[in-house]
C-alpha cells in the first residue's frame, strides 16, 4: 500500500466547498435573530465623557460598558476593553452594542447614539509615538513593550569588518484580506447554554472572552468554529464574537454580527507597520561578522499579540545565518490606529525585508552570487542562534539553497536572463510554535466508531487544510484508509483547550498528539486521549523549530510608469517531511501572493487616525493578473521529533517575497536601493536604467 504520508490526497472538505454546501458563520440563519451593530467613535483619540442613547423602538437594545460583567478582552496585557468607557484610542473603537430585528435598523440606531467626546491630539505614526510632547495612550506611556538581546561583541565585529552596510527599512500596515469578513452568531440552547459559533482561530479563547464579558460560568458556554473563510492571524483573538455573545446573554435571543468590508478594512486586525534600522558587517570573503537590528512596530491602540510579534521579528532578523555577534533591539509602540496583532509571518517578513536586502547588496559589492554568500553563512543544526541558544533541530537551509541553484529559475537568472527582466532571490526563516513561556499543548481524543475512528481536537481548520493533513497522519498512525477517519475539529465540547490555531503549530503538535493517542488505541483501547507539548527552546532562544524557504522573483519594470510586474516566483521550501505535496504548494503560493501584495500595492494609510482605505476598491488585493506563475519545490530533511518527520510551514512563504522582488527591481538600475514597500514607482523613475 502506498504511504499516505507524502501523498497529495484531495482535501476532505473540498467537495462540500465546491458545491456551496460548506456552512460558514454567515450561512447560519435563525428565526428571531437580533442583528448586531456597534456604535463606533468617529474620533481617533478622545476622552469619553458620556453616551446619549436615543429612545429605542420596541425590540431594539443598546448595551454599554455598564452592562458587562467585566470589561476587558483577555490577551497578553488584557488592556483592551470590550466597550470603550472613559477613553477612545482609535477611530472606530466601539462604545455601545446595538441589537435590532434587522441589520438596517441596528446600523441606523448605532449611528444615532451620540458619544460626548473631548477630542485629544492623535498619535498618528511611529514618530509621534516616540515624541514625548505627544499625548500618551496609557499611563505607562506609548512604549508598549521592548526587547533587547546582545550576543558576542558586536562593536568589535563591526570594527573587524571589511564591509559594513546599513539602512532604514519600512513595511506597511497590511490587512489579512480574508474574503470572509469577521463573523459570529450566538444563541441560547435548550439547556440554557450560550452557544457561540464563529469564524475564529480559537474556540476556547472565544469562550473565555465571552465568560469574562457576560459573567457566565465557562461551563455555561459552548464555543465552536463554523467553516472558516480564511484567517491568517486576523481571527486569532476577539473580532465579532464577544458582541454577539453579550447580546444573546442579555436578551436570550439569537444574535448575529457580520463585519462589513469597511469594518474589516478599517477596524479589523492588521500586520504591524515596521521601521527598522539594520546594520550588517562582512569579512572580505563574505562571512558575516556582526549584525544589528533596531525594529520599531506600530501596534495601534492595544497590544494584543504585538509583544510576541516584536520578539519573533527580531529573533528572525538574522536567524537564518550563523553570526558570532548579534545585537537586537526594538520597541512596540502605541498609536491611535486600529490594533495590529498576528498576521502570517508574525514580524518575520518585516525583518527579512531589512536583512535580505542588505545581504544582496553585500553580495554585489563583494562580487559573490546571492546563493554563495548565503551558503557561506547558512545556519546548521547544532549551531547557536542569534540569541545564543543552540539550534537542536533539523535545518535544511543549505540543502534548499543547493536545490535552488539547480532550478530552472536560477539557470535562467544566471545563464539566460530574459531581456529587460530583473531577477532576485531571498531567504526566509519561520519558527513554529508559540514560543517560550507560552503554554503550547494540544490534546487529541481518538474513539473507535463503526468502521473507523473519530479523532477530536479543539484546533481548527481555518482554510489551510489542517483537517486533511491531520486525517492523513491519523490514517497512518492507526493504519487505516483515509476515509475511515472522521476528523472533528474546532469545538469546546468534550475537548480540552489546545490553544489557538496559529504559529504554524497545528500539524506538528496535533500530529504528534494523534500519533500518541493512536498508540493507545492500537494497544486495544476503545477511546484514548493524548497530549503533546512543544519542547522549549534552549538558552535565550524563543523558538525551537525553524523551516526555511528560498524565494526567487523575476520582474519587469515599465520604463514609462515605473510600475513593477512580477513575472515568476520560484520557491524551494524546507519543512521536514511533506505530508501532502499539493497542499504544501497551495500554502506556498497563497503566502507568496499575500506578500506580493504587501510589496506592490497593499497599504493602509492613516490620516489623523482615519484610514484612507475603506473598501476593496481602494485597498488593492492582488488578482490573478497581478500574481504570476508560481512554482515550488521542496527538499525533505525529516525532523525526527515531528509527526512522521514534518515541521510547521503555513507562515513561511510570506517571509522573503518582498526582498526578492525589491532585489530583482534594483538589478535593473545602476544605483537604485529600495528600502520601503509597497514600492513607490515614482522613486524608481528617477534612477538610471542599466544598459
Amino acid at each position: 500500500m502506498q504511504d499516505i504520508i507524502g501523498t497529495s490526497v484531495f482535501r476532505s472538505d473540498a467537495p462540500d466547498k465546491v458545491r456551496g454546501k460548506a456552512v460558514y458563520t454567515a450561512d447560519i440563519m435563525m428565526e428571531g435573530t437580533l442583528h448586531v451593530s456597534l456604535a463606533r467613535s468617529s474620533a481617533a483619540h478622545a476622552v469619553l465623557k458620556g453616551i446619549r442613547v436615543p429612545d429605542l423602538p420596541d425590540g431594539c437594545f443598546v448595551f454599554t460598558a455598564k452592562d458587562l460583567a467585566q470589561n476587558f478582552i483577555p490577551s497578553i496585557f488584557s488592556e483592551q476593553p470590550v466597550l470603550a468607557f472613559d477613553r477612545i484610542r482609535y477611530q472606530g473603537e466601539a462604545f455601545a452594542i446595538v441589537a435590532a430585528p434587522t441589520k438596517e435598523m441596528a446600523d441606523s440606531i448605532a449611528a444615532s447614539i451620540e458619544p460626548e467626546l473631548e477630542v485629544l491630539e492623535t498619535v498618528d505614526s511611529i514618530a509621534d509615538a516616540l515624541d514625548e510632547k505627544k499625548p500618551a495612550l496609557f499611563d505607562k506611556g506609548n512604549v508598549c513593550s521592548s526587547f533587547h538581546s546582545d550576543k558576542g561583541d558586536v562593536d568589535k565585529g563591526f570594527a573587524e569588518s571589511f564591509l559594513v552596510l546599513e539602512g532604514d527599512f519600512e513595511t506597511p500596515v497590511q490587512i489579512h484580506g480574508f474574503i470572509e469578513p469577521e463573523a459570529a452568531v450566538s444563541y441560547i440552547d435548550e439547556n440554557g447554554k450560550l452557544v457561540l459559533v464563529s469564524s475564529t482561530q480559537n474556540a476556547f479563547g472565544d469562550l473565555y472572552t465571552a465568560a469574562v464579558a457576560t459573567g457566565r460560568p465557562q461551563s455555561e458556554i459552548i464555543s465552536m468554529a463554523a467553516t472558516v473563510g480564511g484567517a491568517f492571524g486576523g481571527k486569532d483573538g476577539n473580532t465579532a464574537q464577544v458582541y454577539a455573545a453579550v447580546v444573546s446573554h442579555l436578551t436570550g435571543k439569537p444574535a448575529r454580527f457580520i463585519y462589513s468590508r469597511e469594518e474589516n478594512i478599517r477596524y479589523g486586525m492588521k500586520r504591524h507597520k515596521s521601521v527598522t534600522h539594520a546594520k550588517v558587517g562582512f569579512a572580505k570573503d563574505g562571512r558575516i561578522l556582526a549584525a544589528e537590528c533596531h525594529m520599531l512596530l506600530d501596534t495601534g491602540a492595544y497590544a494584543l499579540l504585538g509583544p510576541s510579534v516584536l520578539n519573533l521579528g527580531l529573533e528572525h532578523f538574522s536567524g537564518a545565518y550563523c553570526i558570532p555577534n548579534v545585537r537586537l533591539g526594538g520597541k512596540l509602540l502605541y498609536t491611535n490606529h486600529a490594533p495590529a496583532s498576528a498576521m502570517r509571518g508574525f514580524g518575520a517578513p518585516q525583518a527579512a525585508m531589512a536583512f535580505e536586502n542588505l545581504l544582496n547588496r553585500a553580495a554585489g559589492k563583494l562580487g559573490l552570487d546571492m546563493i554563495a554568500i548565503r551558503k557561506l553563512n547558512a545556519i546548521h543544526k547544532g549551531q547557536p542562534g542569534p540569541m545564543g541558544g543552540i539550534n537542536e533541530h533539523e535545518m535544511g537551509l543549505e540543502e534548499a539553497l543547493d536545490r535552488f541553484a539547480e532550478s530552472d529559475f536560477y539557470k535562467e537568472m544566471t545563464e539566460q536572463p530574459e531581456k529587460d527582466c530583473g531577477y532576485g532571490l531571498a531567504v526566509g526563516m519561520m519558527s513554529s510554535g508559540l514560543g517560550k513561556h507560552i503554554p503550547d499543548t494540544c490534546y487529541v481524543t481518538i474513539r473507535r466508531k463503526d468502521g473507523g475512528f473519530a479523532v477530536r481536537t479543539s484546533l481548527i481548520d481555518i482554510g489551510q487544510g489542517s483537517r486533511t493533513a491531520l486525517t492523513q497522519i491519523a490514517a497512518k498512525a492507526l493504519d487505516v484508509p483515509f476515509g475511515a477517519i472522521d476528523m472533528q475539529m474546532g469545538s469546546t465540547v468534550d475537548n480540552l483547550d489546545s490553544g489557538s490555531t496559529a504559529a504554524s503549530r497545528s500539524t506538528f503538535i496535533c500530529g504528534n498528539a494523534i500519533i500518541e493517542a493512536a498508540k493507545k488505541i492500537r494497544e486495544g483501547a476503545d477511546e484514548a486521549r493524548a497530549s503533546c507539548a512543544f519542547p522549549e527552546a534552549s538558552g535565550q532562544a524563543i523558538h525551537t523549530y525553524f523551516a526555511f524557504i528560498v524565494q526567487g522573483a523575476k520582474v519587469k519594470v515599465d520604463p514609462v510608469t515605473g510600475k513593477t510586474d512580477v513575472l515568476w516566483i520560484h520557491c524551494v521550501t524546507d519543512t521536514g517531511r511533506v505530508i501532502n505535496p499539493s497542499m504544501l504548494d497551495g500554502q506556498v503560493f497563497g503566502g507568496v501572493a499575500m506578500s506580493l501584495g504587501m510589496t506592490l500595492s497593499e497599504e493602509i494609510r492613516y490620516r489623523n487616525g482615519r484610514s484612507l482605505e475603506n473598501g476593496l476598491g481602494n485597498y488593492i488585493l492582488p488578482t490573478a493578473l497581478d500574481v504570476p506563475k508560481l512554482t515550488n519545490e521542496f527538499i525533505e530533511k525529516p525532523e525526527e521529533s515531528g509527526p512522521y518527520g514534518a515541521k510547521g510551514m503555513a507562515e513561511l512563504p510570506t517571509v522573503a517575497v518582498a526582498p526578492a522582488i525589491t532585489t530583482a527591481v534594483c538589478s535593473l538600475y545602476e544605483d537604485l536601493e529600495i528600502n520601503t514597500v509597497p514600492i513607490d514607482r515614482t522613486a524608481i523613475l528617477g534612477s538610471r536604467r542599466r544598459t
Partner: protein, 151 residues
C-alpha cells in the same frame, strides 16, 4: 414591493420582494441558497458571482428586481444527480480550494468563461477570474484547474 418571476437553477421561482433587495440577498435569504457568498457587498471581490442569462454578474450589486424574467444559475445548480460538474471536480483534484469562501464565485466565473470559450489560454483564464479575489491560493492551482478542462 415588487413581484418577480424567474428561473433559478432550472426551477421557476416567484416572490414578492422589496425594490432595493440585491440578487445576493434574494438568493441567500429568500431562497436559502447560501452557497453564493458575500465578501464585500460592493462589487469588488467576486465572491457573489452567479450567472444571469449566461453572463456572470456580481449578485451583491445586481438588483433582484432586474432578475424578473431571467434565468439564474448558482453554484448549487451545477451538480447533476449528485455528480459534481467537471469544473467542480477539477477544483477538487487540482487543490484549487483552500478556505473555499471565494470558490463558488470563482467556479461560476470559470463556468461563464468556458461557455463562451471552451479552450481558453492561461491569459484568458486569468482575465476571466480577475474579478474574483482569492486570498488563500495565489491563483496558480485555480488556473491549473480551469486549464485542465481544455478539450
Amino acid at each position: 414591493m415588487k413581484n418577480i418571476n424567474c428561473i433559478v437553477n432550472g426551477e421557476k421561482v416567484s416572490r414578492n420582494i422589496p425594490d432595493d433587495m440585491s440578487l445576493l440577498t434574494f438568493l441567500r435569504e429568500e431562497l436559502g441558497l447560501t452557497g453564493t457568498k458575500q465578501g464585500c457587498g460592493s462589487g469588488d471581490c467576486g465572491a457573489c458571482t452567479v450567472i444571469v442569462d449566461g453572463k456572470s454578474v456580481d449578485s451583491c450589486i445586481y438588483p433582484a428586481v432586474l432578475a424578473d424574467g431571467r434565468d439564474i444559475l448558482t453554484i448549487e445548480g451545477l451538480e447533476k444527480n449528485g455528480e459534481l460538474d467537471r469544473i467542480q471536480k477539477a477544483f477538487v483534484e487540482h487543490a484549487a480550494v483552500q478556505c473555499g469562501f471565494c470558490t463558488p464565485g470563482m467556479i461560476m466565473s470559470a463556468y461563464a468563461l468556458l461557455q463562451d470559450n471552451p479552450n481558453p489560454t492561461e491569459d484568458e483564464v486569468r482575465r476571466a477570474i480577475s474579478g474574483n479575489i482569492c486570498r488563500c491560493t495565489g491563483y496558480q492551482q485555480i488556473v491549473d484547474a480551469v486549464l485542465s478542462l481544455n478539450m
